[in-house]
Structures are given as structure tokens and as C-alpha cells.
Symmetry: C2
Subunit: 411 residues, 2 copies
């Protein structure tokens, strides 16, 4: 009985084995841009127009001919005749003549004939009809030219980009009020194990509440997926097979099973996932903690993830593998800086050949934040609740020293 | 005309002046815990029960009396009689006797009489009824005791905590399936300026599309607020006053006005906000770029934010002030590590006495990420679309050198 149970695969290789099989969903949704936050663009977006469409002032001041301010200074101002004002939001019909100044507002249109704007702070009104200009401006100064923001046909955002607030601003600025985004992956989530009961029930001795279904569903939702809770399955091969097959036939785009903790349930998980379709199970056991007994596979285009029942293992492994798999299903690149850096407050033991993820509190640091590891036995969910982040202890390290610079993922 | 227009206030002081007046909303919502992601707890949550409720094994193996394994090793195993199995999810009625071993699964109940679990890897079956134990286990080894995760009455999460996925797992684990959270602040958002048109319209020369309403609404939604779009207001005091007053009377919890760019509109904004209620305008102009003409005030318990019309200024200032104000309305502490660190790729000029926020791309770095500033004239929304983050150039610095360690906020 001294076997290792599984052929353990390094975490990065395990993840890549799964990701290599995933192709983005071809279904899309067409949405108003302002409702598409966090969704992933199905196609590259190009600008249908130039922006700005008219020359705009970047300041409050006076549109002038730059040459009329040549040599102007506090001691030797230039004098220009005030020739009206460009109101906001309408076309300026007026053409600026030599030695004239026309009042313009920030964002307002520069009248024809003008090629620069003098800031109001650099002028002084003298009488009703004249200003002193106390500074020389160069041609083009304080002016945004037509097309300086974007030109017709320019790439705004590539396919696979996950939309952020300011991206939506950019799209709306050029009238792209609708976007086509990749459909939300439908993720069927099951819990299994004879000891697992719904959270609203009062557990009898030996029973525990199902929390994995809900924490995994919340991670799925955050990543732009749509969780479909399949409920709690008994520790029985046929029962599990029937329910998981039904979800597969119903068109689930990913199937996640957090198995109860007994060996028999884990074996059932592997058998069910393997039987669902080709290529079947790709990884059975990962050199990582928590989450060693994780099972990865594919049935056709559908990624299959079998997680340990331990809530911390299930949560951590879904962050490490389920989240990138969801991005891959959406054809999305990961966001920059999802991985941060921190300094360990204390030594952390590990084992060479195993990649650990240690829950930690993040504390303010002198330059970068400090990560204070939380040590505990497995299966204590409230230790994870105390944590802000997961610290990575790399595969090739037998632990890390205090002050080591570590990768952390925010929880 | 050489005045500075505004009494400029340092950004931190401006923010604190506003935050000092904000009191959390007293309205709450009661929700299923699994639908409360990102919401803020109205009350501290304490555990109604002990967890685990029964002694659990952390491994697959055999429940034993630790003293029966005393001195056991590969060369001198202890021999124990196999005395059945504890099935998952039911009470074990059996009591372990001296020199016996009972099979237990990870997470399963430890039978009475046992005080430790031997991992299956450290055993060898010999015949049908006996095992060899090849390692000494200590009392309590591989056992989670009753209450080791949490005890009845223990604090789970404090009031003001913004719920994350794993928090919801913790709540459900002890049967807290409903939570009372602070109501979503209702944020009335207006754009104003005669040049501003709805994004679905085709602009005439001199007109620009309203994007601020939508980017600000998306930020509000991300922070757990509820945006109520008030539309585009003309550059007219009475029109602005009427619409903003109506929103105030309708019970908006925050009012945000991104004013068109002309001085007259900014003045209208200040007058309207000041007239809405006491204490009125608190800050008129901030020593920051972008966003100098920002106006902050309070009418009773309602924060008022007047933003420049320039979409980048409006967006950046809403991140800096609107987002913390929304957290304050929810009684929520900011999340740790919302501010990250990066190294500048290049020098960035600034002006002592002014706090700048420079859009930047984040690139992978040797230890921490590198921030590549994006330089551009104001009012170019697509330069912001290129950015992943905002780099802070502190108030007391006249610029920063390449390689300087800077605070960045992810966009």
C-alpha cells in the first residue's frame, strides 16, 4: 500500500496539458457596450471614425495665430483685438484674422485661421475689445488636431480583450454602442460525497455542509462564466455518471466536480470523467499542495475538472486551473498583474518537487507589501477566510526564507 | 486674469474633507449569502456553532490509539487488528479497542477510543484482518478536533467587510445562508455641457459624445453601488439646478456631475451643488493632474462630486475620490493591496505641489512589474484605453526618475 496513488504532474505542466486542448467558444452575445463590463471581445474593434472630428482646445483661453504672439512676454506683451467667442457645441463660422483673439473653452472648437491657443492665465484684458498676451505660443500649442486621438480604421482593442470601464468609454466615444462578446461559458458544478448536505440543512454528526458549489460558482461568475449548480451527488458511480452525462449532453462548456474525500469517490470521479468522451482524463494528481488529488480531462471541447472535496484545496486549485481554463474558453488573455509581489514575514517550509500555495495576510510594507503566511491543518475553511492572498512556494524550493520576494495572488 | 481661479487643496486633504462628512447608509438588504459577493456586511458575523462538530481525519488511513504505534518503524512495524471502517456521512457507533485499527477517509469521523490516524501510505495490509503500521504517530496526529476551525460565538467577519468568494464559503459552512448587507448606494450621474450628446447619436461639428455617464456608472457598479443615469444637462443654471435637486429629493445617496468644459458650466456646477444643502461646497479645485477643477461638497448626508468634463480627468478623479466615497457610504474599509508597486521605465516630469496620475502600461519586471508611462495631451480617451494602471507622482516630487519605485493603481 506504499504506492503514491497518482502519477503526479508538475502544476504548470498540468495546467498546460488542459489549456492546450481548450478552444474558445464560438457562440457570442451582442450587448450594449455599457453592459459589457468584464466580458471578452469576440472580434477586434476598429474605429469607424476619426476623433476628434474638429480641432479642439485643451485649455480655457484665446484662439490666436501663433505668429501674432511672437516675442510676447510679461514685459513686452502682444496686443490682440478680441473678436468674439466660440460657443460650445456648435460650428464656429468665424474666421480668425491677423492680430485677433477669439475666446475658446476647454474642449471647444478652434476657429479657422487660428493655429494655437493662449491660456487665459497668460493674458490680461485691457478695455472691452483688447487683450494683452504675455507669453509666446508655438503653432499647435494647446490644440488637439483632428485624428490626434484616433483615426478611422485604427485598432481600438484586440479580440480576446476583457472589457474594463475605460475601454467602454473609448468604444462609446466613437459611437460603438454595441459589442459582440464571447458567450458566458456555462459551467456545471457538482459536489459529491455521502457526507455532504446542502448548506441550509442542519448537519447530523458525520455530515458537512456543501460550500464548494457556492465558492466555485462565485469564482465562475467573477470570471464572466455562468455557473449551473448540479447539486450534491451520492458516492455512487452510476448516480454520478448519469448526472454528469446529462450536464454534458445539455451543453455545459465546462464540468467541475468537487468530490467527497473518500478514495472511492475520487475513483468514481476519475472513471466518470474518463468515460464522458475523448481524450478523457489527462492529469490524475498534481505535485501541489493543497490539491494533490486534482483530476483534469477533456470530453470533446469540454474541460473536466475533478477537485478534492476539501474546500481550501478545491478553491485554490480552481483558482490555479479553473480560472485560466475559463479565460481560455473565452479566448481571453490573463490580465496583467494578476500576480503581485510581496515579501514573506517569516520562513515557510515546503518540499522540493511540490508547488505550494500558502494562504497569507497582506500587510503594508516599506516598499512592497508583506505577506504573513497562515499555517494550519488542511480543511479549516476559516483560516482561508482570514487570508487576503495565496503565496506561491515554487516547485524547486524546499521552502523559503523570511524576506524572500514571493508571488502572491489576491483572494 | 492671472488668478489661479481656485483655492487648490492637496488631494489627500481634499479626499479627507469629503470623507470626514460621510456616514454609512443605514438601509440594508438581506440576501442569500451566495448572492452577496462584493457586498458589505452591515453587522459583524459570529459563528452560531462549533466547527467541525465531530473529530475528523485529515488523511485516508486508519484510526488508532497513538500508544499502540509507539516505536513502530519500517524495520519493526506494529501489528493492529482491522476492525471495520467508518463510512462517510454517518455516526460511527463503534468504539476502537486496544491494538485495533479502523479505516477512515479524509474528512471522515474518528471513532471513539481512537486519538490519531495513521496515513495509509505508512501501513501495509497483512492478511485479511491485520495491518502493519510502519511509523509512530503522536496523539492528535492527522486529526482535526471539534472546534478547531471555529467555535460558537467566534468572530467570522467584522461589520464593513466586503464579501469575497471564500468568505461566503465560511458563512455557509456554519449555516449562515443569509446575510444583511449595506444597501447599494444610489448614485445619480449627470453629464452637462451644450456640446455633449448621447453616444448613440451622430455628432455634428463641435459636438462630442457623452462617455462619462457610462464609465462612471461602470465604476459605481464595480464598487457595489447602483448608478442612476440622469442624462445630459444643458449649460444652464436653472436646468441643472432643477434636475439635480430632483435627484436629491428622490433620495440619491451620492450625486456626480461631470460638467462640460467651459468655465460657465463649471461655475454652474459649483453654484448648484452649493445651493443643494449644507454644508455645501467643501473643496473647489485640487492640486492634482488630471482633474484640477474638481468640486467636492455635501448636502446633508449626500456627497456631491463635480468632475471636469474631460473623460480622463473625470475617470481618474472618480477613482481617487468617488470610489473611496462609495466605500465610506457602505461603511467599508478599502481592500488591501488596491495600490501596487512598480518600477518606472522612464523619467516622468511633474511639478512639486501637484499630485499627478499618469496612465501607464504594466510590463513584467525582474522582481516587481515595470510601469511604462503613456504621455499625451489631455482629453485623448484612447491613450487611457491603452493603459493598465495609473502611476502616482507624489505631491512633493518635481517628477520621478526611471527605476523609481512608484505606487500604481490597476485600471
Amino acid at each position: 500500500m506504499k504506492s503514491q496513488f497518482f502519477d503526479l504532474v508538475a502544476p504548470e505542466e498540468a495546467r498546460q496539458r488542459l489549456l492546450a486542448h481548450i478552444t474558445p467558444l464560438t457562440e457570442t452575445d451582442t450587448l450594449p457596450a455599457y453592459q459589457a463590463m468584464g466580458r471578452v471581445l469576440a472580434h477586434a474593434m476598429r474605429s469607424p471614425q476619426v476623433l476628434p472630428t474638429f480641432r479642439r482646445s485643451t485649455v480655457d483661453g484665446f484662439a490666436v495665430r501663433a505668429q501674432d504672439t511672437h516675442g510676447a512676454s510679461d514685459s513686452l506683451p502682444a496686443y490682440l483685438a478680441m473678436a468674439g467667442e466660440v460657443p460650445m457645441g456648435v460650428i464656429s463660422e468665424q474666421v480668425l484674422q491677423q492680430a485677433q483673439a477669439i475666446t475658446v473653452h476647454t474642449g471647444g472648437m478652434i476657429p479657422d485661421g487660428a493655429d494655437a491657443v493662449v491660456m487665459i492665465e497668460d493674458t490680461q484684458q485691457v478695455g472691452d475689445d483688447e487683450i494683452e498676451v504675455r507669453r509666446t505660443v508655438a503653432a499647435g500649442e494647446n490644440v488637439i488636431n483632428v485624428g490626434e486621438d484616433i483615426n478611422e480604421g485604427d485598432l481600438i482593442l484586440p479580440a480576446g480583450h476583457r472589457l474594463r470601464e475605460h475601454d467602454i468609454g473609448g468604444l462609446l466615444a466613437v459611437g460603438l454602442t454595441e459589442v459582440e462578446v464571447v458567450a458566458r461559458p456555462r459551467v456545471a458544478i457538482f459536489s459529491s460525497g455521502d457526507e455532504v448536505i446542502p448548506p441550509q440543512q442542519e448537519p447530523l454528526p458525520g455530515q458537512v455542509r456543501d460550500i464548494n458549489s457556492y465558492t466555485l460558482a462565485a469564482l465562475v461568475a467573477r470570471m464572466g462564466g455562468q455557473a449551473v449548480l448540479g447539486g450534491i451527488l451520492p458516492d455512487d458511480y452510476e448516480a454520478i455518471r448519469a448526472r454528469v452525462s446529462a450536464a454534458f449532453k445539455d451543453g455545459a462548456n465546462m464540468i467541475v466536480l468537487s468530490a467527497g474525500s473518500s478514495v472511492s469517490v475520487r475513483d468514481n470521479t476519475a472513471r466518470v470523467l474518463d468515460a464522458l468522451g475523448d481524450p478523457g482524463v489527462l492529469v490524475h494528481g498534481i505535485a501541489t499542495r493543497p490539491g494533490k488529488p486534482t483530476i483534469l480531462g477533456m470530453a470533446g471541447r469540454v474541460p473536466l475538472i475533478g477537485l478534492p472535496g476539501n474546500p481550501i484545496s478545491a478553491f485554490v486549485q480552481f483558482m490555479m486551473i479553473g480560472v485560466p481554463a475559463l479565460s481560455a474558453l473565452q479566448g481571453a488573455a490573463p490580465r496583467p498583474a494578476e500576480v503581485l509581489r510581496a515579501r514573506l514575514t517569516t520562513n515557510v517550509p515546503s518540499m522540493a518537487g511540490r508547488e505550494d500555495y500558502v494562504p497569507a495576510k497582506l500587510l503594508p510594507g516599506e516598499d512592497i507589501p508583506r505577506a504573513e503566511p497562515i499555517f494550519f491543518k488542511s480543511n479549516l475553511i476559516f483560516k482561508l477566510v482570514e487570508a487576503d492572498a495565496l503565496v506561491k512556494i515554487p516547485l524547486d524550493k524546499a521552502g523559503l526564507q523570511a524576506d524572500a520576494l514571493v508571488e502572491v495572488r489576491l483572494l
